[in-house]
């Protein structure tokens, strides 16, 4: 390890870094703009200047850019030398010549890297007397504001957007000091990672438009570490909440990234960043609702749908308790239906309430089996589930039947980085350090092999070395062929067309030749064979090299893998429930169904749902009114992720805890608390109920889960429990600059109200307590003196870009290793009638996820219901793009607009999974249906309707 001297102090540091990186890792403040820990150096801003001396005799030294200077053993540097300081101040002064100094009205103010660096440079007096150039701002869609006058031209935005995230519609335009960062013309930024611009931009050019709608300063936000609930990657987030100031309760205001080295690093996708707003939605359930028996003169409710009115929580709980008592006494059947979008704790509480044998997963058989298969595959010792940095490091990637750009976007972003590994290798040969970003990117380096196979490969096809649009069945056969080649056992190789065989050969060769091959697949095809195929390839590779092969399997929802842990394979699906309800009909016993945070209409076919919802009593705990809620007799308002504490298990088997950011409004509380309250009220005194009623803290449940399920034993030590204190204090959720805490409630109470206590976490809903507990996983307000922006994260990392210095609140599942049995690809499926099309699920970043689809900004960009068919199938049916067509199933039909794509495999109809308007179609995917064209709407007519 090289020894260096900075300002007379000796340091020993990690080799291969640049000086800026080293300084920051050593805790020395050195201002910078264009450098970014994840994107490296380009030397544009010239802000990080330091002096480098030849030897101890050298008194003058030479000005160098910290970010562009590789550290040398024995190097002598000065950050504080006058000449360096003067230069850095001068750069700030230059940068500010065109800056409008509009901090008071700028959303970035108070967490602005430019403000911080200006302070740090010590430059206080501007001597510029000229006019400032002004730019016209662009409309960039519902997520991002644009204020170009604040730009300091650090080029981070386009470097992130284009080079890191692969976007193509944002660019540097013009030249000299007229450069402009924008689109060719106004319009929504197309990349699904555009939200990161908000954090990547060191000033207020790109800001969060959804936040602007209910803007407050960062220091006025109350924050806690949370987990993004919009897919199964498990990105760590820092949501912020605050009261609106009119005496009302707090609202969730925004989500920003919370660094987790192994999962999201510095970046989130736009679904995760802008999806939070569903909790503020008008459809939010805040009170207890119960069916009304009033005679109504007129109603908009459909057949079977119930009409609800508020009910006092106490009465509702009593009604719930009576049901439980009746069930305990054998007079009622009490069924619990859990949910993969609810925490382990909530699910476990429901299981505790109804008993394991009456507890169902809230998934149809296919989806639950898929999750169990994922779980089973991940136990195989020949493979491992990679972290995000491991994915970025892969030197050959095969994506099989999973649209990760839509279903696990953060993973897709990681794969984009993997595509550069050849180039990086070339750089290493030339002894160019990898942080020299511009140098590395200008090298000749054919992209690393990235192979995409699946129904929709469009998302990543710009970086793909090969992409093969094909059906799930072909995907599995293709995978089997590769696996056979890799294991050297050709006997079971499926019959593939010539071209595909060649491709399979090629793929096998590439994967076998790679040092760090990575296979990615998931539940997206809703097809077991796809998963098996991916596993077969990965295990074959693992066997060849005798070291585990990386296999990432994307699960559909935030806690999919968690809920799978609560069930034995083969049990707990909704069809089984429906069947048992049907067969139980003759017992005549009334049935009560408790549904936990789940919209059954998205889960199972109409018949199954009908069977279940026909129960005598339907009790629902949920956060948003949905189709299932319309059928419920009793609805309890459930806390959303940001309002509660709990644990989720992500796709790679990592359990993570999230903490309540704020308390939900009205009567909102965690589902498990409702269940516990009801259990407490009921007359029956079974031990399980007593236990449930006695749990006071979320961690009581985590501990109970850890006890009962050995693979989840690590849940018990996910984070400090509620008794934890630092110097006798809890951790403050509010900043020490939090303002107006008395005044904000003055409308309701003149006297200052005591802050509510948090029973679950050692954190306070106030500014009292430890402000900067960065050494624990408990803080989301990452802050350090002089570092008000998110860039302060390096103060909490082991080294710049490295893991957090202390526990990050994650734990891997501890599953028994178990080798997969070998597998053969299925040979052909039942023939399809020529009129039929194979329905295959497509996924949408905006729309497929139930909750984020209800966030206002996201809802505004969700597509109208559509379906995609191949050119061939379209012309056969005389369907043109834009036609209204009807998807006909035996039990249901759906009206959609036709889209035509050359990549859509023939004979298939791509249907967007869960898209608003098509939610109920989800349960039929994959499946078969016929398609018919409705009368084509002529342009004049449609023009007429638009008026």
């Amino acid at each position: 390890m090289p020894n260096i001297t900075i300002d007379g102090e000796q340091y020993e540091i990690e080799d291969g870094q640049n000086l800026l990186n080293a300084c920051l890792s050593l805790g020395i403040n050195l201002p910078y703009f264009c450098w970014h820990p994840a994107m490296g150096s380009v030397g544009a801003c010239r802000q990080c200047a330091v002096i480098e001396y030849k030897d101890f005799e050298d008194q003058r030294g030479k000005l160098v850019m910290g970010c562009m200077t590789p550290i040398k053993d024995g190097g002598i540097y000065s950050v504080s030398a006058d000449s360096a300081r003067e230069f850095r101040g001068g750069v700030i002064e230059d940068l500010m010549t065109n800056h409008p100094h509009d901090c008071p009205v700028c959303e970035e103010g108070g967490e602005c890297h430019l403000q911080d660096m200006t302070e740090m440079s010590g430059h206080t007096l501007r001597r510029y007397r000229g006019t400032k150039r002004t730019h016209r701002n662009q409309y960039l869609g519902p997520f991002i504001n644009h204020e170009m006058n604040r730009c300091i031209a650090c080029y981070r935005c386009t470097r992130f957007y284009r080079e890191y995230a692969g976007g193509s519609d944002l660019a540097a335009l013009g030249r000299n000091n007229q450069v402009y960062f924008g689109r060719e013309q106004d319009g929504m930024l197309e990349s699904g990672f555009s939200g990161n611009l908000v954090e990547v931009c060191p000033t207020g050019v790109f800001t969060d438009k959804t936040f602007s709608e209910h803007f407050v300063r960062k220091w006025d936000l109350q924050t806690a570490p949370s987990i993004c609930e919009h897919c199964a990657v498990g990105c760590n987030t820092a949501p912020g909440a605050r009261e609106p100031g009119d005496g009302e309760d707090a609202i969730l205001r925004r989500v920003t990234n919370l660094f987790n080295h192994d999962i999201n690093g510095y970046f989130l996708c736009d679904r995760g960043r802008f999806g939070y707003d569903y909790v503020n939605s008008e459809a939010r359930i805040k009170n207890v609702l119960a069916t009304r028996t009033l005679e109504l003169i007129e109603t908009t409710a459909g057949e079977n749908e119930k009409i609800h009115g508020d009910m006092a929580p106490r009465d509702a709980l009593q009604q719930f308790a009576d049901t439980i008592t009746a069930a305990r006494r054998g007079r009622r059947r009490l069924i619990g239906i859990g949910s993969p979008r609810s925490s382990l704790e909530n699910n476990f509480a429901l299981r505790q309430l109804v008993g394991a044998e009456h507890y169902y997963a809230g998934l149809n058989a296919r989806d639950l089996q898929l999750l169990h298969l994922v779980d089973r595959i991940q136990r195989d010792p020949r493979l491992y589930s990679p972290t995000t940095p491991q994915i970025e490091n892969a030197d050959a990637v095969l994506v099989l039947g999973e649209e990760i750009e839509q279903t696990a976007p953060r993973i897709a972003l990681a794969v984009r980085q993997a595509a550069r590994n050849r180039q990086k290798q070339h750089a290493q040969q030339l002894k160019i350090p990898l942080w020299q970003d511009a140098s590395v990117r200008q090298l000749d380096g054919s992209p690393s092999p990235i192979l995409l196979v699946g129904v929709d490969t469009a998302g990543l096809c710009d970086i793909a070395s090969e992409h093969l649009p094909c059906t799930a069945e072909q995907t599995a056969m293709f995978a089997a062929a590769i696996a056979c080649r890799l294991s050297g056992d050709d006997s079971g190789s499926p019959d593939l067309p010539e071209g595909l065989l060649e491709l399979a050969d090629n793929a096998a060769q590439i994967l076998a030749g790679a040092e760090r091959p990575l296979i990615i697949s998931g539940c997206g095809n809703r097809d077991k064979a796809t998963l098996h195929g991916a596993a077969a390839i990965a295990t074959a590779l693992g066997e060849r090299t005798e070291s585990p092969c990386a296999l990432y399997l994307a699960c559909p929802e935030v806690n999919s893998l968690g809920i799978a842990q609560l069930f034995e394979p083969g049990t707990g699906d909704l069809e089984q429930l429906a069947q048992s309800l049907e067969s139980g009909e003759d017992t005549g016993m009334p049935v009560s169904v408790v549904i936990l945070e789940n919209d059954l209409y998205r889960r199972a076919d109409a018949e199954t749902v009908e069977q279940i919802l026909a129960a005598d009593e339907v009790i629902l705990l949920d956060s948003l009114l949905n189709q299932t809620a319309r059928r419920a007799d009793l609805i309890f308002p459930a806390a959303a992720t940001a309002e509660s504490q709990g644990s989720y298990i992500n796709s790679n088997g990592t359990a993570q805890r999230f903490y309540a950011v704020y308390e939900g409004t009205g009567f909102i509380q965690e589902s498990w608390r409702w269940l516990s309250d009801a259990a407490g009220l009921c007359g029956a005194k079974a031990p399980s109920l007593t236990a449930l009623a006695s749990w006071r803290h979320s961690t009581d449940l985590s501990a109970a889960i850890a006890c009962e399920f050995s693979q989840m034993a690590s849940l018990a030590d996910l984070g400090p429990d509620e008794d934890y204190r630092i110097d006798g204090l809890k951790v403050a959720r509010q900043t020490h600059r939090y303002s107006g805490r008395t005044a904000i409630h003055a409308k309701a109470h003149v006297a200052e109200q005591p802050p509510h206590a948090d029973p679950d976490a050692p954190m306070a809903f106030s500014m009292e307590g430890i402000q900067n507990a960065g050494e624990t996983p408990l803080v989301a307000n990452i802050w350090s003196p002089g570092w008000n922006s998110n860039q302060s994260i390096h103060k909490f990392q082991q080294e710049v870009g490295g893991p957090r210095r202390h526990a990050d609140g994650t734990a891997r599942l501890l599953r028994e290793p178990q080798a997969m049995p070998s597998w053969r690809a299925p040979t052909g499926s039942a023939p399809r009638s020529p009129a039929e099309l194979e329905l295959v699920p497509l996924y949408c970043l905006y729309g497929s996820d139930e909750l984020s689809a209800r966030a206002k900004a996201i809802a505004s960009v969700i597509d109208e219901p559509y379906a995609v068919l191949s050119e061939h199938d379209a012309s056969e049916r005389a369907i043109a793009a834009g036609d209204s067509v009807e998807i006909e199933l035996p039990e249901a039909h759906f009206l959609v607009r036709a889209r035509i794509s050359t990549d859509q495999p023939r004979g298939t109809l791509g249907v967007p999974y869960g898209l608003p308007g098509l939610e109920e179609l989800a349960a039929y995917l994959p499946g078969r249906a016929t398609l018919s064209r409705l009368a084509r709407i002529s342009s004049t007519e449609s023009g007429g309707t638009a008026q």
Binding site: A44, K62, A153, R175, N176, N177, L443, G445
Partner: protein, 433 residues
């Protein structure tokens, strides 16, 4: 003995030497000789000949070529690029060579490409040089027809295609790495080094970028040898060079003279001295991005290191003369405006510092300056010093500013003291002459 290898075909009339005329004077003999030599020997010869790059930096050309990886395991594709972006204010030498003797450049490029193992070469020419581009294209056609370019040249295994790439403006395109980006159809922002172009340049392949005049030196150097070439120079540096003078001299123009020709000789003898009624106040020895020198530097020989030691740069060797009727503040403002406009916009001191300097100079020139402005200007020039910015544009821009503040400080002070430009009247009067 041949003393004007660069201009021997340039006649008085404004027409290009065609291939026949070019051959009559011994054209393409260097190329024939080169084809019989080992590429490595050519590199060595050019290096030993002491040819220094005529694009401004004066780097030994052979040495530059020697950095190109060679041998079996080196990349099979390599490129040669001729930098014909000539856009430095006061520079007008490459145009002359290309318009009047295009074959000399073609031959030089052929030899250079052969020496480094490139089979494709580009002439990156600024978009305004229509005539030069046309004549070069014509010359390339002629050379192809005679089998001097194309496949298997002269029965050897060597093939070479030369393409003319017309640029679309911007001075920064002359910076060799920005030029490569422009050739790749990208924004002409300079690239980070390392990697140097010789290792990873155009499309990531080993690439040599040379100035037009540099390449024009090659054919005769190869044909007549090192000793001859070295003997051409009068001072420390080898070879001959195109020197030019513009400004208020009697006979502005370009001449091929030995390296090391004293400045006084160039200005007084070749350019005919100052116009009547004008005195030499100072001069920029090698284009707009060099430091001003004063009358007491007139006896210096034009050699890279000599001019360097005097505090300026020989740059392109084209001298801009500042006379005593022209406002030095105005001239610096003019130059700074140019550089501010031509900044690529990548690094801060250049992108934002230059426009600010322009504003200060404008105020000074308009008589609105304050005494502190001079310090501010000095500070800015210092901030744009070598190494402080990403490429050499800004340091080049700083040179006239900082040197003018030294040499013509009194003029700057006068502007502040008088609250107006003391030169205006003179300038107008002289314009009326």
């Amino acid at each position: 003995m041949l003393t004007n290898p660069l201009t021997k075909n340039i006649g008085p009339e404004n027409i290009a030497a065609d291939i026949e005329r070019y051959r009559e004077s011994g054209g393409y003999r260097g190329w024939s000789k080169a084809l019989e030599m080992a590429p490595g020997d050519i590199v060595k010869m050019v290096q030993d000949g002491g040819l220094r790059g005529r694009g401004g930096a004066g780097f030994n050309t052979g040495l530059k070529w020697s950095f190109v990886p060679r041998g079996a395991d080196s990349p099979s594709i390599k490129y040669l690029v001729c930098n014909a972006d000539e856009m430095e204010p006061g520079t007008f030498k490459d145009r002359l060579l290309m318009e009047r003797d295009p074959h000399l450049l073609i031959e030089g490029m052929a030899i250079a490409a052969y020496a480094i193992g490139a089979h494709t070469a580009y002439i990156f020419i600024r978009g305004e040089y229509h005539l030069a581009a046309e004549r070069l294209e014509q010359a390339i056609d002629e050379a192809r027809q005679e089998g001097l370019l194309g496949n298997s040249i002269r029965g050897t295994e060597f093939s070479l295609e030369i393409f003319v790439h017309r640029s679309a403006g911007n001075y920064i395109c002359g910076e060799e790495t920005a030029l490569l980006n422009a050739l790749e159809g990208k924004r002409a922002v300079p690239r980070a080094k390392p990697p140097f172009p010789q290792v990873s340049g155009l499309w990531g392949k080993p690439t040599v970028v040379n100035n037009v005049e540099t390449l024009c030196n090659i054919p005769n150097l190869i044909e007549h040898g090192i000793d001859w070439y070295r003997s051409l120079g009068r001072g420390e540096d080898a070879g001959s060079k195109l020197f030019g003078v513009s400004g208020r001299v009697k006979n502005p123009g370009t001449w091929e003279l030995p390296m090391g020709t004293p400045i006084r000789e160039i200005i007084e003898q070749h350019a005919g001295g100052m116009c009547d009624g004008y005195q030499l106040k100072g001069f920029l020895p090698g284009g707009g991005s060099t430091d001003f020198l004063g009358p007491d530097h007139l006896d210096l020989p034009m050699d890279y290191d000599v001019i360097g030691k005097a505090g300026s740069r020989m740059g392109t060797g084209t001298i801009i003369v500042l006379d005593d009727h022209t406002c030095p503040v105005g001239l610096v403002l003019n130059l700074t405006r140019f550089f501010a406009r031509e900044s690529c916009g990548w690094c801060t001191p250049c992108r934002d510092g230059l426009p600010w300097a322009v504003q200060i100079l404008e105020r000074l020139e308009n008589g609105e300056g304050v005494p502190e402005d001079l310090d501010l200007l000095r500070e800015q020039a210092r901030r744009m010093g070598p190494g402080n910015t990403f490429c050499a544009l800004a340091p080049g821009a700083a040179e006239p500013i900082q040197s003018a503040l030294k040499l013509f400080e009194q003029d700057f002070i006068d502007h502040v003291m008088h609250g107006c430009c003391p030169f205006e009247k003179v300038a107008e009067a002289s314009a009326a002459v």
